[in-house]
Every structure is written in structure tokens, then in C-alpha cells.
């Protein structure tokens, strides 16, 4: 067998650290080459020891996990892949970690076998997600982040500026004042206004005000 996979473990809880360490040490393909509970030490140690895998708790005091992931990613020379091992089960954390450059995400309360599996998967460059996460979930979540689900929504059809102008018009603010407020020319305001009315099929200012009140955009 070739070299065992070198693993560095970072977790601010001693108990957890011990637990992970013993699990890793049980596996002949893995070798723990270092660990710490202090987030400030991670980068330094990783740069020195150059493990192939970093098992990282996302939420450690002092330096946030995302920052550590980002730093490691930025160091091209470092081949270390990061697998996040955390309590957090929210898809948001997964998306964030993967976006920052982590290769794997494993929750702590599933069987530790998943962690082992994860470590062995990511050294090949693949992404690894432990249950209950799936790539589909991540895609869905990212899409949700982008915009609201409701494509039918009038507001969604408008551009940002048009939405801003909508709120002003609903309040009866004159074009001059809108221009002054937004720092654009009156002609531009008129254009946005026209487009807004057209896209939303408003027939009068009263329509705009009514809509805005219904949607709680003005009170």
C-alpha cells in the first residue's frame, strides 16, 4: 500500500478531537499528523506539515472556518484538501463551505464511517457530502438564494431601479424628488417609471399605491 493519507484535525472541543483521532488511527489508510483546538494555529501548522487532508470544524472561536478554508485555497502550492466536519446541519453551511473551496462536508452526528469515506473521496478531487445532504439540495438552495420562487410575481419582472421608482411613485413623490433622491436624471426617472407601469400593467398612480400597500412596501 502506498503512503497513508496524512490528516490534520482541527476542532475546538477536546473530546471531539480525541474521538476523531481514535477513529482515524483505527484506519490503516489514514495517518493523523497533527491536531489543534486553536484556530489561530491551523494555517501555520498546515503550511508546515502539509497534510493531504484537513478535517476542519467550521465554527471555532477566533478565526471563522470560512476564512481558514479561503486561505488554504488561496495557497496554490498547498495541496491540502479540506473536509468540513461540523455540528451544523443546515444546507446553508454546506453551500457556504463548498463555495469557499472546501471539498467535503460531513455532519458530526452521523456515523463516523462517513467521515472516513469522505476523506478517502476528496483526495481524488471529488466533492463529498455526507447524509442528509445531496448535490440536488445544494443546487436548489443556491437557486432559492438567487431570487424568490415566484416568477409570476410582478415585482420579479421589474428591474431594481424600477422597483425603487415604484415605491416612490406609490408614495406620491414627484419625478424631480425621485431623481434627487436616487441621484439620477429626471429623464431617467421618467423612463423607469414608464417601463415600470407598463410591465406591471398599472393604469394609474392609484394602482401603484394600492399594489404597494397590499404588498406592504409602503404603510
Amino acid at each position: 500500500m502506498s503512503h497513508p493519507i496524512t490528516v490534520y484535525i482541527a476542532d475546538d472541543h477536546q473530546i471531539v478531537l480525541k474521538g476523531i483521532t481514535s477513529v482515524i488511527q483505527l484506519d490503516p489508510d489514514l495517518e493523523m499528523v497533527g491536531c489543534t483546538t486553536d484556530s489561530k494555529k491551523i494555517i501555520e501548522e498546515v503550511c508546515r506539515i502539509k497534510p493531504r487532508v484537513l478535517v476542519l470544524d467550521m465554527v471555532m472561536p477566533d478565526i471563522p472556518g470560512v476564512e481558514i478554508i479561503r486561505s488554504i485555497r488561496q495557497m496554490r502550492s498547498l495541496q491540502t484538501r479540506v473536509i468540513v466536519f461540523t455540528m451544523h446541519k443546515d444546507i446553508g453551511y454546506v453551500a457556504q463551505a463548498l463555495q469557499e473551496g472546501a471539498h467535503g462536508f460531513v455532519v458530526k452526528d452521523v456515523d463516523t464511517a462517513y467521515l472516513i469515506e469522505g476523506i478517502k473521496t476528496i483526495i481524488h478531487g471529488e466533492q463529498y457530502l455526507s447524509p442528509p445532504f445531496t448535490q440536488h439540495q445544494i443546487k436548489r438552495y443556491l437557486k432559492q438564494l438567487q431570487s424568490g420562487k415566484d416568477k409570476e410575481d410582478v415585482l420579479e419582472r421589474l428591474t431594481r431601479r424600477e422597483r425603487e421608482v415604484l415605491i416612490f411613485v406609490a408614495q406620491g413623490v414627484t419625478n424631480n424628488e425621485i431623481a434627487h433622491n436616487l441621484g439620477i436624471s429626471v429623464r431617467t426617472v421618467e423612463r423607469h417609471r414608464y417601463n415600470m407601469m407598463k410591465k406591471a400593467k398599472f393604469r394609474s398612480e392609484a394602482d401603484v399605491t394600492q399594489f404597494a400597500m397590499r404588498r406592504g412596501l409602503i404603510t
Binding site: K18, D90, D109, Y141, G148, R163, I167, R215, G216
Partner: protein
């Protein structure tokens, strides 16, 4: 005597008769005398004819109508008469009855006139009937007023002839009538004037209207016309009035109003405002005086003075700042208490332009030029700078009113700096309290999540290890049970921690937290959440904003689950450059906002409302029964 042949007689004269000669001489003398007499008579006749002709011409030319009637029949008319009687020619009038041309109303008088003429019956009589005014009738029946005089005319045959001279005075009479009417109206006018009017000549009253009589308390019998003006003037005024009368007479110009003390006929004195005008009555110089009793006005002015002095006293005593400002913006009055607030003495305050001492925000809003109705109150809260440059908060109640016939602004201001500072302190404390509350929850959440949670993980590892090193099936099974319980426990602890405060809020932001929350909410309540967030792509805001927004949505959705009886709700977040709008809507049965707000006073929606308002935002609930409900909130992103 020689005899001579006188051809005239044709007889030869012989000496036959010395007596014939005397008779002839006598005849000659008589004939000569007769001739002379004839000549004289013919001369007289000629003169008479000339005179008659002259008279006739005169009569013809005279503009007066001249007619002669004999025994009642018109025998002569002159051209003027024809014209006045509107006839075409003399023939229309001659031969007719004279009385026919006299108006029935005047006939009796005319008859009488003629009678009196003939009772006198002397040739040399001057017209016994002087000019009288009567009515005649013209040819066309139109009555005319005439001035008429009549003479008896002696005729040879002793007939009763009367020469009538008359003049058409219709126009003259009409003018006279008009003049009388005008005069009557003038007097009537003066009588009706609400101002007392008196006309006097050199002090003697010749006219007093009703009002004057009333003011001077003259009873009906009392004829002021026998009095002098001075009888109605207070002795102290006499000298002054004499001078005034003189001045009017000299200059012929009216005098400006003066206040004088007059005396009524019952001895009462009263204050009057009098105006004197030069006047003419019947061609003589007089003075027209118009006066009115100003005792009431005087009383009111004194009362006003008193009230103003009371106002001043009150204004000075009030511990508040009282000021009066004129139309032009100048400070007319400011009380002494103002010094406590502003540091300037009232004198100093009046002389400075106060605009630089008003806060720019207040001036920016154009309050100073806002229109206010008289009596309408406006209320302002603004900051003013005092003498040492400190900004103080004042509450001003302001109104416009009339003082001394001018429009002024009246304001009362109270220093509310202390109150505002207290309010600010309270607000900060409330905010701190909320922060402490949230922080505490966060702390608990973290403790549970990180400490307890991690310990549970540690236990998991331990059990896993134990499982690995156990051979016995019984142990395996027991450990497996333990692991199951542990897993449940871990999950519960996580849920508990997240319910206190989701860690995502700090780590990931509002949007991911909401997405997580909606998932959880739907799986617990079965209510679908339609989420729309235009212009909001997970920008990060301050912790206070994010936590408040989250709590509002959390609380509102809880409310929906509790009351609305629906299976769908929608949430919208709209972010603009300085605020976010949140709407939570459902189409359910609606609820009574007051009930809900009051039920859970310290938390829940009313608590939300307070929290939002502390941040300078708004929260409103529209929930008509049966029409669903909309909860809308606005949270400013930056603290003012």
C-alpha cells in the same frame, strides 16, 4: 269896407252888408278854428293810431301771452298766447269762451279774480289781482301751469273786457318741485343717518336729526333749534370749539375728527368723536357737525389695554418661553423666562435675527413659511441654540392671531431637552434590554449547540468506540439502543438551540436563515411559504436589523399557524438603499389585531411592534375579518 270878390264863396261881396262882413269874418274865424280842430283831431287820431299800432306791435312781440276777453269771449290774442296755448292760429281761440282755457281746478279762483276786478272799476286801476298761479288748458287739452295777471280794459261800449297776461311756468314749477324734493330727501337722509348730525349758524342750532336728538336725549317737545351748540358742550371744551368754528369759517375746509365731551339735556356727560364741515343753508354760511358716542369704544379700548397688560403679566410669569412675532418675521415680544432657556435677555433677543439659532432641519422643512389660519394651532418640536452655543430641544405651540390690528404669530415654547434626553436614555436602555435578551438567547443557543452538543458528539464517539471493542451481542444491542437515544437527544438539543437563536443568522445571514426557517415551518405546520425577495440577494445588514427582521417573520408565521386556518402564506422582503420592507400575507380568516397584540404583551406581535419602533421603523397589521391578513414592517438600515 270895400267889397271883394271871394272866390270861395262865389259871391260878390257888396257893401251891402257891413253886418255880413262881420258874419263872414266870424264864419271865417270859426271855419279856421274848425280846420285847426280837425287837423288837431286828425293828428290825435294819427297819434292814437300810431300808439295803437306801437302797442299792438309790442303786444305781438311780448313773450308773455296776452289775451283780451269781453263778456267771457276771447276777442284778442297775441302770438305768444297762441304759442303757449298750442294753437295753430288765432282763429282757433278767438270767439271761444275764455273759461274754456282755464283748468277746471282753477276756474273758481279765476272767476273770483275777475269779479274783484270789476268791483273796482276805475280806469286808472293797477291790476287788483296780483300775479296768481293757475292752471290753464291748452288746445290739445294738456294742462299747463301759468302765472297770470288780469287788468280790466275799458271799452267804449262799457262791455266787461279783461286783459289777461300770463306766462307758462310749467317748467319752472317742475324745477322748483325737484329742488324741494331734493331738499326733502337730503333732510330725510340726514335724519336717517346713524350718525348724529347738527347744523348750526354761528353757534345757533338750525337743524338736528333724530340721532342727534337721541344722543343728546332731547324729548319730542324740546326744540333744539332754540339752543346754542355750547349748551351741549362741556365747559372745558368751549374755548377749543370756538376756535374750531372760527377755523372752518375762515378756511372753508372740514376739520379732522376730535374727541370732545358733550352734555346731554339731562346733564349727563359723554365722550363723542366729532367732525365738522363747512355748509351752506339758504345762502348763509353754516357748520355741519357729525358726531358719535364713543363711550363704548373708549371702554373697550380701556378693557383691551387692561387685557393686554394682563396678557403681559401672564406671559412674564409663565415658566415657558412666550413670544410674539410680526408678519415680517421680526420678534415683537419675548418674555423674561426666555432667558432661562436661551440665555439672552429679552432686549438682546429682540434685536438679533433668530434664524441662525434655529436648527437647520427645522428651517429646511419650511415651517416658517407654512400658512396657518387664524386660531389654528401648529405644534413643532425643534432644536434651538442658546447663547453659549448649546442645542436645546423645545416644544412650540404656535398660532396666528390679531393684536393691535396687526397679524401676529403667538408662540409658547417649553424646554423639553431634559425630556428628550430622558427619552433617548430610555430608548437606549430599551434597546440594550432587547440586545441583552437576544444576546442571552444567543448565548444559550451557543451553549446548547456548541457545548452540550459537542459533548453529545463526544459521547457518540465514545459509544462508537465502545461498540467497536465489544464482542458481546447483548452489549452491542445495548450500545445500539444508547446510540439511538443519543441521536434523538442530539437532535433535540440542536432543535432547542436553534429555536433560541439560529446560528445561521450570525454565520450565514438573514436569507439562508429564512430559507431554513421556512423549511422547518412547513414541515411542522404543513403551511407552504411562498417567498419573494427582489433586490435582496443575501446582503448582510447589522445584527440588530437581521435579528429583528427574522423575529418579525418568525412571529408572524407563528401567528398565521395559530389563527389563519390556511395552508399557504407568502413572505416578501424588499430591500432599498436605506430600509427593508417585510410583508407576511395570508388569505385566511383574518384576526383581530388588537386581541392578538394585547394577549401577549411582552412578546409576540406587540413586542415586535415596540422593537421595530425603537429602531425607528414601523409595523402595521391589516386584518379585515374574513379577508386574510397582511403584516407589513419597515426597518431602517441605519440608526438616526
Amino acid at each position: 269896407m270895400e267889397s271883394e270878390f271871394h272866390p270861395s264863396t262865389g259871391r260878390s261881396n257888396s257893401s251891402s252888408g257891413g253886418a255880413n262882413h262881420d258874419e263872414c269874418q266870424q264864419l271865417k274865424r270859426e271855419i279856421t278854428a274848425l280846420k285847426a280842430e280837425l287837423n288837431r283831431l286828425s293828428r290825435i287820431e294819427q297819434q292814437h293810431a300810431e300808439q295803437t299800432a306801437f302797442l299792438q306791435q309790442l303786444i305781438s312781440l311780448l313773450p308773455m301771452g296776452i289775451a283780451v276777453h269781453t263778456n267771457g269771449i276771447v276777442t284778442f290774442v297775441n302770438p305768444a298766447c297762441i304759442a303757449i296755448l298750442n294753437a295753430e292760429s288765432a282763429d282757433e281761440i278767438l270767439g271761444k269762451s275764455a273759461m274754456g282755457f282755464v283748468h277746471p281746478d282753477s276756474r273758481e279762483a279765476a272767476q273770483k279774480r275777475i269779479q274783484t276786478l270789476f268791483t273796482a272799476k276805475t280806469v286808472k286801476s293797477t291790476p287788483v289781482a296780483p300775479y296768481a298761479e293757475e292752471k290753464f288748458l291748452r288746445m290739445d287739452g294738456v294742462p299747463i301751469d301759468v302765472e297770470v295777471a288780469a287788468f280790466p280794459v275799458v271799452q267804449p261800449d262799457d262791455d266787461m273786457s279783461v286783459m289777461v297776461l300770463f306766462r307758462d311756468i310749467t317748467e319752472q314749477k317742475r324745477q322748483q318741485h325737484l329742488l324741494l324734493e331734493r331738499e326733502a330727501r337730503f333732510h330725510q337722509l340726514i335724519s336717517l343717518l346713524p350718525d348724529a348730525t347738527i347744523i348750526h349758524k354761528a353757534g345757533h342750532i338750525i337743524f338736528a336729526n333724530d340721532m342727534a336728538r337721541r344722543l343728546l336725549k332731547l324729548d319730542a317737545a324740546d326744540d333744539a333749534l332754540s339752543h346754542s351748540v355750547f349748551d351741549y358742550l362741556h365747559p372745558d371744551e368751549h374755548e377749543k370749539v370756538r376756535r374750531r368754528i372760527q377755523k372752518i369759517m375762515q378756511t372753508g375746509k372740514p376739520l379732522p375728527p376730535e374727541n370732545e365731551y358733550l352734555i346731554r339735556s339731562n346733564g349727563e356727560t359723554f365722550l363723542a368723536e366729532t367732525m365738522a364741515f363747512p355748509f351752506e343753508e339758504n345762502g348763509e354760511k353754516a357748520v355741519l357737525i357729525v358726531f358719535r358716542d364713543i363711550t363704548e369704544r373708549d371702554k373697550m379700548l380701556k378693557a383691551l389695554e387692561k387685557s393686554e397688560s394682563r396678557f403681559r403679566t401672564l406671559a412674564e410669569l409663565l415658566p415657558a418661553l412666550v413670544f410674539l412675532v410680526g408678519e415680517d418675521g421680526k420678534l415683537l415680544y419675548i418674555n423674561a423666562s426666555s432667558q432661562t432657556i436661551l440665555g439672552f435677555t429679552p432686549e438682546e433677543s429682540r434685536n438679533i435675527d433668530y434664524r441662525p439659532f434655529l436648527h437647520p432641519d427645522f428651517l429646511k422643512d419650511d415651517h416658517l413659511t407654512q400658512y396657518l389660519d387664524i386660531g389654528e394651532h401648529a405644534h413643532y418640536e425643534l432644536q434651538v441654540k442658546n447663547k453659549v452655543g448649546q442645542w436645546r430641544w423645545i416644544d412650540v405651540t404656535y398660532t396666528r392671531t390679531i393684536m393691535d390690528d396687526a397679524l401676529v404669530g403667538l408662540g409658547v415654547a417649553v424646554d423639553t431637552t431634559w425630556r428628550k434626553e430622558t427619552e433617548a436614555i430610555l430608548k437606549r436602555q430599551a434597546q440594550k434590554l432587547i440586545k441583552a435578551y437576544e444576546d442571552e438567547r444567543g448565548r444559550i443557543a451557543r451553549e446548547l449547540h456548541d457545548e452540550v452538543g459537542q459533548q453529545l458528539i463526544g459521547m457518540k464517539f465514545a459509544l462508537e468506540a465502545a461498540q467497536r471493542f465489544t464482542d458481546s451481542d447483548a452489549s452491542q444491542s445495548a450500545i445500539q439502543d444508547a446510540r439511538q437515544i443519543l441521536a434523538d437527544l442530539t437532535e433535540n438539543v440542536r432543535e432547542l438551540s436553534l429555536s433560541f437563536r439560529p446560528s445561521q443568522l450570525d454565520d450565514l445571514g438573514l436569507l439562508p436563515t429564512l430559507l431554513w426557517h421556512f423549511d422547518r415551518y412547513t414541515s411542522r405546520t404543513g403551511i407552504q411559504v411562498q417567498f419573494s425577495h427582489p433586490d435582496f440577494n443575501n446582503q448582510r445588514f447589522s445584527q440588530a436589523v437581521e435579528i429583528t427582521a427574522y423575529r418579525i417573520i418568525q412571529e408572524s408565521l407563528t401567528n398565521v399557524a395559530r389563527h389563519a386556518q390556511v395552508d399557504r402564506a407568502s413572505v416578501t422582503i424588499q430591500a432599498s438603499h436605506d430600509r427593508i420592507h417585510i410583508t407576511i400575507q395570508d388569505d385566511g380568516v383574518g384576526f383581530n389585531p388588537e386581541e392578538v397584540m394585547n394577549a401577549r404583551a411582552s412578546s409576540g406581535l406587540s413586542g415586535m411592534k415596540e422593537r421595530v419602533e425603537l429602531m425607528g421603523g414601523k409595523l402595521e397589521i391589516h386584518s379585515p375579518p374574513g379577508q386574510g391578513s397582511v403584516i407589513s414592517a419597515t426597518i431602517p438600515l441605519f440608526e438616526n
